[in-house]
């Protein structure tokens, strides 16, 4: 089945220790999104790629970076995680503007 896959599902890291979250898709969608969702809050867009074009949200901290080496994969790098970065990180894909966004299951990040 075509889907959006995120690995790992749970990630524990130490304060300041870099971490990478991965997302892959078999839908062949042009757009890939990374959202951060904290408890009882709405998903907050960090950045998105339209094909290879990277679009960063103005309020996304510099601590967060992303890579999209090909259509299928997208990575979220957190260079120096702080306690406030503990959250669920959701990857989503879409064919483009005004199309459905399909979400992966998310990676729950814990920072100790």
């Amino acid at each position: 089945d075509a889907m959006v896959i995120q690995n790992p599902r749970y990630q524990v890291t130490q304060f300041g220790k870099p971490v990478t979250l991965s997302c892959s898709q078999t839908l062949n969608h042009n757009v890939m999104y990374w959202y951060q969702q904290k408890s009882s809050q709405a998903p907050k867009l960090l950045f998105h790629y339209y094909d290879k074009d990277f679009n960063n949200e103005a309020d996304t901290p510099d601590n967060f970076q992303s890579r999209r080496p090909n259509t299928s994969f997208c990575f979220l790098d957190i260079r120096s995680p702080g306690l406030g970065d503990a959250a669920m990180y959701l990857c989503a894909t879409s064919r483009g503007k005004s199309f459905v966004q399909y979400f992966g299951p998310g990676t729950r990040l814990t920072v100790l």
Binding site: V31, Q41, A42, P43, Y50, Q101
Partner: protein
Amino acid sequence: QQPVQSPQAVILREGEDAVINCSSSKALYSVHWYRQKHGEAPVFLMILLKGGEQKGHEKISASFNEKKQQSSLYLTASQLSYSGTYFCGTEGQGAQKLVFGQGTRLTINP
């Protein structure tokens, strides 16, 4: 700017109806509705495009009034499986992204 959803929470008995509203201060191109259960990813329900359309399937429908920049989600004869948090996501003119409302938590009791 984040759209505003109302109410913030609703508690219903199985079989009752509910309406969730989503309002934006900006001109909208589309409104998306998603449902998220605790600990899971959001699941798509429907998209409404500008043109004042109304959509629905089974007992869940929605409307979009582009002049008022408002959308409403209608849940009819609610089932236990409808429980979760409902988010509207709004897409502005020229944007390729969604901004999600703060969510409406729906609880359905037997």
